[in-house]
């Protein structure tokens, strides 16, 4: 109840003064001269004045507002360790019960830190949760906040937080927690295949622990070595990258007795294996308009070392020009095709025809080179159909298609065959999805008979245009038109020659990305994505072995020709093995070296500075049990409502601010001299005065 009296004069103050001041002077003069009835006159005057001043009696009915108190509960994965969840739940229930006794507190419970399934970096972000909890509360009504956490808060400010009420933190776990963890200090993202890669790591332990520890090193799921590391010291490591594409390097240390968690006893590094210096030998049979297209493509490919030879002048052509006026280079055929042939990753014959330059025997060597795992590409022109075609040499053993002798010279759109729609070399080639394809026409197709292998593109009259084949361990490609350069020169808008040529070359060089049959798996947050690249209609489901050894099956759905996808939500963190048919893949699911799992030892330190800056406190919920490796019973501090200016923490209590804010519910208003009461008083005073004066 709030009572107050206010004056609400009926007429304005100057008028009031003009009426009352002369009357008051008269009354005072009467009193001075001792006239009869002077006192009564004064009373009557006072009554008149009171009536004119119109005092009003106000009665406000107010309700005090509650202070808002937030309980921020850390539900991050590190809170699942040991007894922490139990402690947290116990503390939360206890606090809610205690706060329930104070009706001046409005309690909000905010659970924060639970990771999203697809989140890549798991972190505990309690301060953003705190900010969110009070977003709709005016600062004067904030009573304070209590965090129940293990203290590993990753968005804690180093100084005062932007929070103007006591912030208290109750730390789960206990002081004597032990943990060892391992982390990469230096892990390059890329490494050259077959070359050792320098990395370094560190084993970190709590409580100043030192000494040696064994570290198991695995590459792509295979243990390669056991290293000896000293705890606390950065240790160098050399790992040989086995394959192109993604490699998983895993370090693991054994679990110590009494250790908090095993999750951070492993560290993962993903290294992309890069093949260095693919050596390509490009032999152009004669200078022609398309020569620069192949040449420029291979020259601009950073991973390719190009050795290029063009037959500028065949040996039988002599015109008597003195040799010192010619700028011709000998073709080091013996060196290239006998001594160094096995060092090339790809040999391209670009419109090459058999000449006396190359001894017949050397074609045998090339066939043998292909059989043993080399790669050969024939970019055929009209000469392939002719008399001196290289198909008439011993190279024919390596060729997927013999010339029919026809040269079809008519305009056509190069098109993908049904197989080509699925084949990684031609799948999704820019412009292939429309009809006619969004690229220019070519004008020449070299006829072949009975191509072996896979025909992925077709030319005029549906003749084979691009044939890909495997011979022994090697690969052979054959492009049966010499007019790919029209795409490079922007004829009719050009075409995707770079994409096509590059994919042909890299497929021949066994680029893993371009394998027809390929299985890859990737972790995205806690989701495992599986991608199957295949030429078949249905690869069937994929089998998954989880890190703990459980197996499950995932259906793969077709997403585009030749691509099947599947994904599964997982709960375990670690390496998953995926199998489909003969193919296997390895993927790490879950946060890689996430802050959440890096350091899990409960601590008061991170929250000390921000809490104390607000007048709050940080304390542990439990002291260690007698044995030292388990927390004792939860001891909650008592809660004390405090004024804004007072201290907010003591040895066994935590203070929460109460607010002075209230809400106005109703106002009742009684005019004191209004109505019959005022009239009666006035008449009585006037009457008495008149009576007295009349005596």
């Amino acid at each position: 109840m709030n009572w107050s009296i206010s004056f609400e004069p009926l007429i304005s103050w100057p008028l009031l003064a003009a009426v009352l001041v002369p009357l008051a002077l008269l009354a005072l003069a009467g009193l001075w001269f001792g006239q009869r009835g002077a006192v009564l006159r004064l009373v009557a005057l006072a009554a008149l004045a009171a009536a004119l001043f119109n005092p009003v009696f106000l009665d406000e009915s107010r309700e005090p507002l509650k202070s808002v108190v937030a309980l921020i509960v850390d539900r991050s994965p590190s809170q699942d360790i040991g007894e922490r969840t139990r402690q947290t739940d116990e503390a939360l229930a206890g606090l809610q019960q205690r706060l329930g006794r104070f009706n001046q507190f409005d309690v909000r419970v905010v659970e924060a830190g639970k990771p999203e399934a697809a989140e890549e970096r798991t972190e505990t972000r309690l301060f953003s949760a705190l900010e969110g909890a009070f977003r709709d509360v005016p600062p004067s009504r904030i009573g304070g906040a209590i965090m129940i956490t293990d203290g590993q808060v990753h968005d804690a400010p180093t100084g005062a937080p932007d929070f103007h009420a006591p912030l208290h933190a109750l730390i789960t776990g206990h002081e004597h927690e032990k943990d060892r963890r391992i982390r990469f200090e230096n892990a390059p993202r890329f490494g050259l295949v077959g070359k050792p890669l320098d990395m370094s790591y560190r084993v970190i332990a709590t409580g100043g622990e030192t000494g040696p520890v064994d570290v198991r090193v695995s590459v792509n799921g295979q243990q390669v070595s056991v290293e000896h590391a000293i705890i606390g010291q950065a240790t160098p490591l050399q790992v040989t990258i086995p394959t192109a594409g993604r490699n998983i390097i895993e370090l693991a240390i054994d679990r110590e007795p009494g250790e908090l968690t095993e999750t951070n006893n492993r560290a993962i590094a993903l290294v992309d294996g890069i093949r260095e210096n693919l050596r390509v030998l490009l032999v152009s049979g004669e200078p022609h308009a398309g020569e620069r297209t192949w040449r420029n493509l291979l020259k601009s490919d950073a991973s390719v070392d190009l050795v290029h030879f063009t037959i500028l002048r065949p040996p039988e052509k002599q015109d008597g020009t003195p040799i010192n006026e010619l700028s011709l280079i000998a073709f080091p055929t013996r060196e290239l095709f006998v001594e160094k042939i096995k060092d090339f990753d790809l040999i391209i014959f670009d419109r090459y025809q058999h000449r006396d330059v190359l001894p017949i025997l050397y074609y045998d060597y090339i066939s043998e080179y292909v059989e043993k795992g080399g790669a050969l590409l024939i970019a055929a022109g009209p000469e392939y159909a002719g008399e001196s075609s290289i198909a008439r040499t011993p190279l024919m053993a390596a060729l997927p298609a013999m010339p029919s002798g026809e040269i079809v010279e008519k305009a056509f759109y190069p098109r993908l065959t049904d197989i080509g729609q699925r084949h990684p070399v031609t799948r999704g080639l820019d412009g292939s999805s429309s009809e006619p394809p969004r690229w220019s026409r070519w004008f020449r197709t070299i006829g072949v008979q009975n191509p072996e292998g896979q025909v992925v593109m077709k030319g005029a009259d549906n003749r084979p245009l691009l044939v890909l084949d495997r011979k022994g361990e090697g690969r052979v490609g054959m492009l049966l038109s010499d007019q790919g350069w029209l795409w490079a020169r922007g004829f009719e808008g050009g075409g995707p020659h770079v994409q096509l040529y590059r994919r042909i070359a890299h497929w021949l060089m066994k680029e893993p990305e371009l394998e027809e049959e390929r299985l890859t798996a990737d972790g995205r947050g806690m989701t495992l994505d599986i991608r199957r690249q295949t030429m078949s209609d249905d690869p069937g489901p994929a089998q998954i072995i989880t890190p703990s050894g459980k197996t499950m099956t995932v259906k793969l759905d077709k997403s585009e020709p030749g691509i099947f996808l599947g994904s599964v939500q997982t709960s375990e963190i670690g390496l998953y093995q995926v199998a489909n048919g003969d193919l296997t893949a390895l993927a790490h699911v879950g946060p890689i070296n996430a802050p959440e799992f890096a350091d899990v030892v409960s601590t008061e330190d991170r929250l000390k500075a921000p809490a104390e800056a607000t007048g709050g406190s940080v304390r542990r919920l439990a002291s260690p049990s007698a044995s030292g490796d388990q927390p004792g019973p939860v001891v909650l501090p008592s809660i004390v409502p405090v004024r804004a200016s007072a201290d907010a923490a003591g040895a066994d209590w935590i203070g929460l601010r109460t607010t002075d804010d209230s809400v106005l519910k109703a106002v009742s208003r009684v005019p004191l001299f209004g109505g019959f009461l005022g009239l009666g008083l006035l008449l009585l005073a006037m009457g008495s005065m008149w009576y007295r004066e009349g005596r």
């Binding site: 050596r279 420029n296 050795v307 290239l336 090339f344």
Partner: protein, 271 residues
């Protein structure tokens, strides 16, 4: 009928031959005709009417004594240009100025890896003074004004053009002395510090005033049609070699320049 539809334009052609006997024969006197592209045009006349002479003129085998004859090889406004690795463009100030659209097509052609060889053929018709320019040079300037022309330099002594087939210190045509201008190569003196280029570094433009075609032109017996200036028989050989080198440069790009690195590459193989 616009000029774009014509493939041969002859105006007031005159040609007189001097027989070995000394008598002069006027084969063509003031002949004008237009031949339309794609049209079948018959040249009818009695023996000695000058049919052969006209055709020879049209083929560029002989030059007229008077009048003007234009045989349009490539119509830059209409023909598909991307088939050509090189467009040889002798500048003729009397020919109509190409339209903006045609110039834009040439520009696009150059952007997509084509090369245009401009020949002003005026090495000795330029005046002596620094400011004097021949009409052909002025026409070239007008054309280049609408093209994206990179910075140019005379072919440096270590350029691929000097060794793409023949070893060639200079590029004479019917005239000698004019440098062959090509796109200025970036600072590439240091092999370790090779600049990264988007294209393959083949010059999209070449300019000469030496009249290459004049030196290459021969009659049906293979005899040259025009004397070289100065009259040195080797100059014609060099002019032909210049043509071969330019064509090799067009087809093989900078192939010759990286042959320098081949021994190193081969050395590295197998290591």
């Amino acid at each position: 009928m616009s000029d774009g539809d014509l493939s041969v334009i002859a105006k007031n052609l005159r040609k007189t031959f001097r027989r070995d006997t000394g008598e002069t024969v006027e084969a063509l006197a003031d002949v004008s005709l237009d031949v339309r592209r794609g049209a079948l045009t018959a040249l009818v006349g009695p023996d000695g009417a000058g049919k052969t002479t006209l055709l020879r003129l049209a083929c560029g085998l002989i030059v007229p004594d008077g009048g003007n004859l234009q045989v349009i090889g490539v119509d830059i406004a209409k023909d598909e240009l991307s088939f050509y690795p090189l467009i040889y463009w002798p500048i003729d100030p009397a020919a109509p100025m190409p339209s903006q659209a045609a110039i834009a097509r040439i520009d696009a052609y150059m952007q997509q890896g084509g090369t245009v060889l401009f020949d002003t053929r005026d090495q000795f018709s330029n005046g002596i003074g620094a400011d004097s320019t021949s009409p052909a040079t002025e026409r070239l300037r007008d054309i280049l004004g609408n093209l994206n022309v990179p910075p140019l330099e005379p072919v440096p002594s270590d350029h691929v053009l000097t060794k793409s087939f023949f070893i060639l210190p200079e590029f004479p045509g019917r005239f000698a002395g004019s440098p062959l201008w090509v796109e200025a190569s970036l600072e590439a003196s240091n092999a370790d510090n090779r600049p990264v280029r988007v294209g393959d570094g083949v010059s999209p433009i070449m300019i000469t005033a030496n009249d290459f075609a004049g030196a290459w032109a021969v009659d049906e017996n293979g005899d040259p049609l025009l004397p070289t200036v100065p009259n040195d028989p080797m100059q014609r050989v060099y002019a032909l070699r210049a043509g071969v080198n330019i064509m090799m440069y067009m087809l093989t790009g900078n192939y010759k320049s990286d042959q320098v690195h081949v021994p190193v590459l081969l050395e590295r193989l197998g290591q």
